[in-house]
């Protein structure tokens, strides 16, 4: 029983970690100016901010891939990878970069020193923002059910609904991933909720 208790505590700790959302900054409700990403006026535009070294983001990219596959080209996607200014060459060229670049319809960008992230208010890797053709923010948040956890989740379902022309009630979800600009682990538990 002691063993079960200890193991149970351990699981609670990691589950708690897994389901702890990242920090979210102040996001512009309209497509901000000064960004190098181009708003698509023919279809919705999706922007995902990612940390190229964050293991949790792989799940976000997988969900993005699935999402885009279900969107059938109804959305223009951009994945912007954080790049520190003093980072060595190729620091961003990780598996995540390659995975993102391999997703059809995704444009990959480097975000030097997180300038674009700050512009869009994204502070956690995996943060996704969806704008309509007019540059109006439709959704913002994560598209994974937990940190680094692939699979069905509310954020993904919401975006799919939006792309399908529906108007879902949920407009924002928690983002699970590493901090782009600061320590994401330092976030207080259940902040997103």
């Amino acid at each position: 029983m002691l063993w079960l208790f200890a193991v149970g505590v351990g699981f609670i700790v990691i589950l708690n970690y897994q389901n702890a959302g990242g920090r979210v900054g102040v996001m512009p409700q309209h497509w901000p100016k000064g960004t190098f990403a181009r708003l698509d006026h023919n279809r919705d535009t999706l922007i995902m901010f990612a940390h190229p070294q964050c293991p949790c983001t792989r799940a976000s990219l997988e969900e993005l891939n699935r999402l885009l596959a279900q969107g059938h080209g109804k959305v223009a996607a951009h994945v912007i990878f954080f790049k520190p200014g003093k980072s060595p060459s190729g620091w961003t060229q990780t598996g995540l970069w390659r995975s993102a670049a391999a997703i059809p319809g995704v444009t990959v960008h480097e975000d030097l020193d997180g300038a674009q992230a700050r512009l869009f208010g994204a502070e956690t890797s995996g943060h996704v923002l969806l704008y309509d053709t007019h540059g109006k923010l439709l959704f913002q948040g994560g598209i994974t059910g937990g940190r680094g956890h692939a699979g069905d989740n509310a954020g993904e379902n919401t975006i799919i609904s939006l792309l399908g022309g529906q108007d879902p009630h949920l407009k924002q979800t928690q983002v699970y991933g590493c901090s782009l600009l600061e320590k994401c682990e330092a976030l207080p538990a259940m902040v997103a909720k």
Partner: protein
């Protein structure tokens, strides 16, 4: 039947019990094996989880800064915690129920950890199903229940607190946990079915194994029993072989002792095999075994071979057993007598296939039988002689008394009448008749060995030489007589008169055997019977002998005649020409003298009589014994003791006529009374055979009470009281009946003139006589 049924029931119970044991053993073995598998697997999973964490999420980032990802710590610590207890239990307490349930729970928790570390990848969920399948190794459905319970509790817990991590939605009803658990239950259900089937097969295997073990045990028991039986059989066989070897050795020894061997003739192959003793008996070599019968019969004496072959052929023809005595000539020339016995073995159609039997050396038995036959013959002869002797002795006693009276009165009468008296011739005829009758009586006593011998040491050459003239006259001019004497001839102790009688009888027989003339040779020589020649002279003891041989070249005798030659009243001469007592007398005299007489003769080849007399080293006795023509006389007092009144009166008359003072008595008791009453007599003349008290007893009484009194014993024959084997004891004075007046007068004078006997000294022989 009951015992058999009980045995079957007991066997079934044993198998059933053993089945349960085997099933449990197998189950426990599987569980332990699975425990060890999971112990290793979980350690591997733990290591894998660490590697997975390091690969998938090694570090977590905050901008440009990073640190070890919590997943790595989770893999190390939580994975270690999950793994530790099940692995320890699996290694230290394999087979325990708690162990496998701990392992089941740990394995499911490890699945949860791995799913977590892989970011909830659907592929990693297969670890759950794979683990359940592996847990099915335990073949214990309860383990699957424990594992399923962990899965279900996990989903319940997550569904309550983090539904999006399980169901992908922010909120989910509690029943959705059943949807996920349902797939697990689906697998578990089939795994349980599989486990039950597997358990059923295990049960079947256990039953078969129990059956096989029971069969094996039965076989082993049978083998053990058979082995024990074989061991016992081996032991018994070895004992039997040992016993057989002993028996064979004893048989060989017995055959050797009995000089008896066995043989076997294979008629189909004509090969003869034989025992060791048979080989010795026939003087064969070991390599001769298996020789044809013809080779085996090579040693058979040629004179017997035809008969032996004939008997064997007859046996083969009649299929009957046979006995065949035959002689065998050994390689060293020795001749043995073998008795062979054989039987025929026939096959199922009655044809002889084998002849087998024994052979025995019966040489000694034959000799013994021959000796026995001769002994029996001699016994028979002796019994016949004894019977005749008893008759002759009985007759001679009275007959001699009568002849004494007849002859005595004749002699007295002839002296009282003139020569011209008309009765002179008649009286002379009566006297000669009485003398012939006396001679006949003497012969009867002689062959019956009841006559009284008065032996002395003599030289046989002198006896024969003294008879030469008389013998020449006796055998006639047609017969050539020659004598060959051994100058170194030894002395013998015998009655010379009786010896002369023997020689004369043999010479007369030789003459009668040579009616047309011939040659009679008498020779003497010394011979010695030693151990070597004793075998051929069984009637003679080993020692030195004097041989007297009388050989003629007359008509000879057949074996049949020879076998009856010495029987009394047996004669080949015509009626009235022989009494049949001559050779019987010779035989009696020689045997009574301690010797033997033998005859060697063949028809038409003459006859040789050989007389063996014991040689003595004693010196010759004086032979001077001249009889004066005048009858001696005297005046001494004489007591005549005689139960026969006629003889007594004759003796009294003769003695009184010769001037003696004579008194008479008709028995010994009266004589003793008379002697005690009327003072001493110079001489007591007494008959030997008398009723109440014999003359020998009277003699003994007088010798003890009045040793000065001389005694003259008279008898027609003797007995053992007076003489041993007819030879007088030393010191006795004896007058043989019938006697003439002259012989009585001379003998009385001789005894009276002899030196007076010395007072008696203790004498063992005498004491024996008195006691008799």
């Amino acid at each position: 039947m009951n015992a058999s049924a009980s045995k079957i029931t007991a066997l079934a119970d044993t198998i059933s019990t053993r089945t349960v044991e085997l099933f449990k053993e197998q189950q426990q073995s599987i569980v332990k094996h699975a425990d060890l598998i999971f112990a290793r697997l979980m350690v591997c999973q733990w290591v894998f989880s660490i590697g997975l964490a390091l690969w998938v999420s090694p570090r977590t980032w905050t901008g440009t800064q990073s640190q070890l990802h919590i997943h790595v710590w989770a893999a190390v610590l939580l994975g270690g915690a999950i793994t530790s207890v099940p692995v320890l239990l699996g290694l230290m307490q394999p087979g325990k129920v708690l162990t496998r349930h701990a392992i089941a729970v740990g394995q499911m928790l490890m699945s949860a950890l791995l799913i977590h570390l892989t970011g909830g990848r659907i592929e990693t969920h297969f670890h759950v199903f794979g683990s359940l399948a592996i847990l099915a190794f335990y073949r214990d459905w309860r383990v699957l229940i424990s594992a399923s319970a962990v899965v279900y509790v996990d989903h319940i817990f997550r569904g309550i607190f983090w539904p999006q991590s399980v169901y992908g939605v922010l909120t989910a009803p509690i029943w959705r946990s059943l949807e996920h658990a349902g797939w697990v239950i689906f697998e578990v259900a089939f795994l349980i079915i599989s486990i039950r089937k597997s358990m059923s097969e295990m049960q079947l295997v256990a039953e078969r194994q129990a059956g096989l073990e029971s069969l094996k045990a039965g076989i082993e028991q049978t083998v053990a029993e058979r082995t024990a039986d074989l061991t016992q059989e081996n032991l018994e066989r070895r004992q039997a072989e040992e016993q057989l070897r002993k028996s064979q050795a004893q048989l060989a020894q017995a055959q050797q002792i009995a000089r008896m061997g066995s043989w076997e003739w294979d008629l189909l192959d004509n090969k003869v095999t034989w025992s060791e003793e048979t080989k010795r008996l026939y003087g064969r070599k070991p390599e001769d075994v298996g020789s044809p019968m013809e080779t085996c019969l090579e040693r058979v004496h040629p004179d017997d071979l035809v008969r032996v072959n004939k008997m064997m052929a007859e046996a083969l023809r009649t299929r009957e057993s046979f006995v065949c005595d035959h002689r065998v000539v050994l390689p060293d020339g020795q001749e043995r007598v073998i008795q062979g016995r054989g039987e025929i073995l026939v096959n199922n159609v009655g044809e002889p296939v084998k002849m087998f039997g024994i052979v025995q050396d019966i040489t000694e038995a034959k000799r013994a039988a021959e000796a026995l036959r001769r002994s029996e013959e001699q016994l028979r002869q002796s019994q016949k002689m004894e019977a005749v002797g008893r008759l002759a002795g009985g007759v001679a006693h009275d007959f001699n008394n009568l002849l004494t009276v007849i002859g005595g009165y004749c002699s007295l009468s002839l002296r009282q009448i003139e020569e011209t008296h008309p009765l002179q011739k008649s009286m002379m005829e009566i006297q000669r008749a009485s003398e012939r009758a006396a001679a006949l009586t003497s012969q009867l006593l002689a062959f019956s060995r009841k006559q009284v011998l008065q032996p002395r040491v003599l030289q046989l050459n002198e006896v024969v030489g003294g008879m030469e003239k008389m013998l020449r006259r006796l055998i006639g001019e047609d017969v050539e007589f020659s004598a060959t004497f051994d100058p170194a001839l030894g002395n013998v102790k015998a009655d010379p008169g009786q010896l002369e009688q023997v020689i004369m009888n043999l010479a007369v027989n030789a003459r009668d055997a040579m009616p047309r003339g011939g040659k009679l040779t008498i020779s003497t020589t010394n011979v010695t019977i030693d151990q070597k020649t004793h075998f051929r002279n069984r009637t003679l003891d080993v020692g030195d002998y004097v041989l007297l041989a009388l050989t003629d070249n007359g008509v000879g005798m057949s074996a049949e005649v020879q076998s009856h030659l010495f029987e009394p009243f047996f004669t080949t001469k015509g009626l009235g020409k022989g009494t049949g007592l001559g050779l019987a007398t010779c035989y009696g005299i020689i045997c009574q003298s301690g010797g033997d007489i033998r005859v060697y003769s063949e028809p038409s080849s003459g006859t040789t009589f050989k007389i063996y007399l014991p040689r003595t080293d004693a010196k010759l006795d004086s032979t001077a014994n001249l009889e004066p023509k005048q009858l001696p006389a005297g005046t001494e007092s004489i007591l005549v003791v005689e139960d026969d009144a006629a003889v007594r009166r004759l003796a009294v008359i003769i003695l009184r006529e010769r001037g003696y003072r004579v008194q008479e008595s008709n028995n010994a008791f009266e004589a003793l009374a008379l002697i005690r009453k009327n003072a001493r007599f110079d001489l007591v003349v007494t008959d030997v055979i008398m009723p109440q008290m014999s003359g020998k007893d009277l003699y003994d009484q007088l010798k003890s009470q009045m040793p000065q009194t001389k005694v003259l014993l008279m008898s027609g024959y003797t007995d053992d009281a007076l003489a041993h084997h007819g030879v007088l004891d030393e010191g006795l004075c004896f007058l043989e009946k019938p006697f003439s007046p002259a012989r009585l007068a001379r003998k009385v004078r001789e005894v009276l003139d002899a030196p007076t006997p010395q007072p008696p000294r203790p004498n063992n022989n005498e004491a024996e006589l008195v006691n008799v």
